[in-house]
Symmetry: C2
Subunit: 591 residues, 2 copies
């Protein structure tokens, strides 16, 4: 019999400890400390409390926990001295049935890993519905993580331990995240479609209006129809638009729009954009199953184009809805010489109808968007969801500092015009200045002494500046300080410089009322409130120009890596995103 | 009638001022201030005092002096309102007879230069024996200097003004630097020989045992013979060895060795190495003309190989004299597949005799070497000669900092492992730490984020370290501090790094007694004493291993640029180098 949260909240300390026995390998004190904070609002609440307990523990205790774990396919497995939980997990991954070669490979990795880090490799190998990583994926992950920095790898080990505890907890409580599992499965199915040249290598690439792209659109249409949407169509730019109509009793209902894009970067991840379409589809399906209608139309859109990979036309899909479609784009040719116009015609899109896609903001309540974070913050803090306060505004520059190349041996330190040292000073100022704001970021991504030699004082140094902040005033103040510093450094050091602005994008602060609705939804799940800016751009930036908007971020695994096949999240986090959106919809419905 | 120094020293202030009238264009206060410090030991002394007067003047007075000069081939020339001196100088350079195209080009340069710097372009156009730069050279120099930084160019203008004053002063005193002119001419003649592929482009390249190289050896042999050396020969590695024998009355005389190399880098300068052979040849010629013998043998060597351009065998020439010839070098092939052995046989060198070149240190008083500075120090300080305290020891490293590449927008400042910022920190520490020693230098000549992107936090950053100091202990302390800092930065920022030592060379501190002889010689010329380390390696480093050595540096023009066709010095400075060596020889003779 599965446990219930209510039983856990009401049990005696000893009973409760027994209920949570085995969540953390040979380490009962984590659950025990969390139990002191009962009652739990939700399993998510309990998990967060346990993560906090471990985060507050000293390094020695954290290391002891890691070391309490068995090696993967290690001696303990061979000697059959694993815990029941570990036996189950390693068995499901096929590790108990390694070939001699695989076994030897894993033993070598175990030895190298232990030698480098001083603790065993820990990987949560189980995924949704008991499925999970196969042996080859495990070995690949093992080899990759062997290259990590020790501090980072220790944190990664702890994150995997929390994930293992999460899976074990779900087992105990029979709390399989069904909604998250469905959302997971939809992502898997959508990821079966990939452009030629990538599909063959198991890479995911879906660019505007390719066969794979249109197959994706068809899958989303089908999924929406099966979920119970009333109207589903592909619009004149390829957006998949589904509408779940308001309660018939509501006169002239307004519309709440949500969605995100289904195109990808080259060799990208499965979740970037797509999560923002599938999460609301799950919500509509649940409403439909329950026979419920909202007092407003709910419009869910899979935007056809956001990444600007095939054509230089980023945000084409969401842009078209605000009348921001540039007809000159139609004549752009892709790498094979196919114009956007030809691609649209081939896809059966009605180019003449693009202008009609423009929405009237007065018809809308606003726009909400769920998106994977694409950054490390939630992952590091063991938080599944984050509230976006603003999509950061940005400015980019490329430049070159120009000093005097001279002999590294014969030019005294006080007679140099070292362009690299000047760039170094700017890089450190940028780092310090951006950190002062707390939520600004500043990056010198390009840094190069062209044709440099070991024994020549750098006469030139090329660099770039990428500056972002949650609002334009903060971004501009950051840029002004950095540029003033550049000028000051150049003057003091007697250098010249060039500087070219290559991009300037306005910030899109979240609408306070919609942001608060997300906040209430997240808190109602027993999760802590965590506000953060979005460093990357999203479709919500476009809608922001005409209507209120607010976004919800979902934790990414693997330190939040994105635009990369390693991009990942979990069925549990997807489940929480669906629950949060359901709460938000209920909240709006009740207003 | 030319003036004499004695007349100048004894004249009344008014008379003396009249004698020096016109040295500095429309600016008599400079000479006037220097006159207050009479008596002058030498014209060099007077020139140094005037340079000091100007160096101590405020920026406004310096700028006024620059602005007191006419434009080259400018309105004043056309309107015939130039000073007599300027008319003479511009006329000799052919500027009064420009073609319309040349005139238009110069007017455009004048306008651009004035717009950028706010003062007229000033160039000392006269060289030895009244010869000097031709129109094309002037135009090329003009165009090049237009690209300079304003601070640097202002200093360069002042240096040219001092050079103009020097030439005007020599005219007034009929003090043509005859010894310097001869040394100048020998350099010009030696520079007529250049390797194929360079000679055609007017570039100077003389690599080991090419036809040009052997023609150079032949010219040095001839010059030595004409100067009155007793024995002149080419040894088994191609060194030109001249000996001026001691006074016959001295029994078992010891030998003082001097010299430097006559090979060059590719597209190099005319003076690097060669000055160290021609200056002592001038000394011997003067001794021979005067019928004087020294109480020791004076051995002057043109070393055949120092730059390691054709074969990787740097210091081959001087190395052979201390028994440091690596027989494995003989099998090295050049870019055309010619082995060193074949090249030596082709040149008629007796490979079997190389081992016999090794000198017995007990036969030697020591080794002295005159060399162009190859750095900016003397040029900036308006000093013609510098005393070398040590040839710096050096260590070089190449390395890479390894952090974590991540999204520049979504990775908060406090969650980055930015490899470029870590390298930046190291570069600035290196700069600060080397400066603390005063005479150490530290350079990060290579600095590169491989495959960097504007919007990606650098995950890797490649860099180099070049550390030099006048003695090994100081060098090692510098290296230890820098490496400790690297480790500390990496640990604090959570980065890994690689580091490979690629070179380690010991310092060669000057022998105190020989250094003092150079010091006395320089001071006896009325020049201030200026001690400095040598940042570059020299033949003296090799002889240092077996006998006491000390070097004298001669100022380089054009901010001391070297290994470059712009490398230059003046006949006046060459004259002072010859005079200094004569004093040193007299000094040793009198001991």
């Amino acid at each position: 019999m599965a446990l219930t949260l209510d039983e856990l909240n009401r049990a005696s300390p000893q009973q409760a400890a027994a209920m949570l026995d085995g969540l953390y390998e040979h380490t009962p004190w984590i659950a025990a400390a969390a139990l002191a904070e009962r009652p739990f609002q939700s399993l998510a609440h309990l998990k967060h409390l346990m993560a906090q307990v471990l985060a507050r523990a000293d390094k020695g205790a954290q290391l002891a926990l890691i070391r309490a774990h068995p090696e993967l396919a290690g001696k303990a497995m061979v000697a059959k001295t694993l815990t029941a939980e570990s036996t189950n997990e390693q068995g499901k991954a096929g590790l108990t049935e390694c070939t001699p070669d695989e076994f030897a490979r894993i033993q070598k990795l175990n030895a190298d890993y232990n030698a480098k880090f001083g603790f065993p490799f820990i990987l949560a190998v189980r995924g949704p519905r008991g499925a999970g990583l196969n042996k080859q994926q495990i070995i690949d992950t093992f080899a990759r993580r062997l290259g990590n920095h020790p501090d980072f790898e220790q944190a990664e080990a702890l994150r995997n331990i929390h994930r293992i505890a999460e899976i074990r907890l779900a087992d105990k409580f029979g709390a399989e995240p069904d909604l998250g599992n469905d959302v997971w499965d939809w992502h898997e199915k959508l990821a079966l479609h990939s452009d030629p040249g990538f599909a063959e290598h198991g890479q995911l690439t879906v660019t505007y209006l390719t066969d794979a792209h249109r197959a994706c659109a068809a899958f989303i249409v089908q999924t929406m129809r099966e979920a119970g949407f009333d109207d589903v169509s592909i619009d004149a730019v390829g957006n998949v638009v589904g509408r779940y109509r308001a309660d018939a009793g509501v006169k002239n209902p307004k519309t709440l729009m949500t969605g995100s894009h289904y195109d990808t970067v080259r060799n990208g991840g499965k979740y970037d954009g797509r999560l923002g379409t599938f999460v609301p589809i799950a919500c509509v399906r649940e409403l439909h199953r329950a026979g419920r209608r909202l007092p407003f139309d709910f419009e869910v859109i899979g935007f056809a184009e956001e990444e600007g990979q095939r054509y230089k036309a980023t945000f084409l899909g969401s842009g078209a809805l605000i009348g921001d479609f540039n007809p000159a784009w139609l004549d752009q040719a892709d790498a094979d010489g196919v114009t956007m116009r030809a691609a649209m015609q081939h896809a059966g899109l009605k180019i003449n109808d693009i202008a009609k896609l423009k929405r009237n903001p007065r018809d809308y309540l606003g726009f909400i968007e769920v998106h994977i974070e694409q950054g490390p913050v939630l992952n590091e803090l063991n938080l599944p969801l984050g509230i976006v306060t603003s999509i950061n505004g940005s400015i980019r520059f490329v430049g070159e500092l120009i000093g005097q190349a001279s002999h590294a041996g014969t030019t005294p330190m006080d007679r140099r015009r070292d362009a690299a040292c000047a760039a170094a000073e700017l890089a450190l100022y940028l780092e310090e200045r951006a950190a002062k704001d707390g939520d600004s970021v500043g990056t010198m991504g390009l840094l190069n002494v062209p044709n440099g030699s070991i024994n020549v004082v750098p006469g030139r140094c090329a660099f770039s500046l990428d500056l972002r902040a949650p609002n334009d005033a903060q971004r501009d103040a950051l840029a002004a300080d950095v540029l003033a510093k550049l000028q000051q450094i150049a003057m003091r050091r007697g250098l010249a410089y060039t500087l070219e602005e290559t991009l300037r994008a306005s910030a899109a602060p979240s609408d306070p009322a919609w942001q608060q609705r997300w906040e209430r939804a997240v808190q109602s799940l027993g999760l802590p409130l965590f506000r953060m800016p979005s460093g990357a751009g999203h479709d919500a930036m476009k809608l922001h120009e005409v209507m209120p908007q607010a976004m919800l971020f979902v934790r990414g695994e693997n330190a939040g890596i994105s635009h990369n096949p390693l991009e990942s999240t979990t069925n549990e986090d997807m489940q929480l995103a669906v629950l949060a959106m359901q709460r938000l919809l209920d909240d709006v419905a009740a207003e």
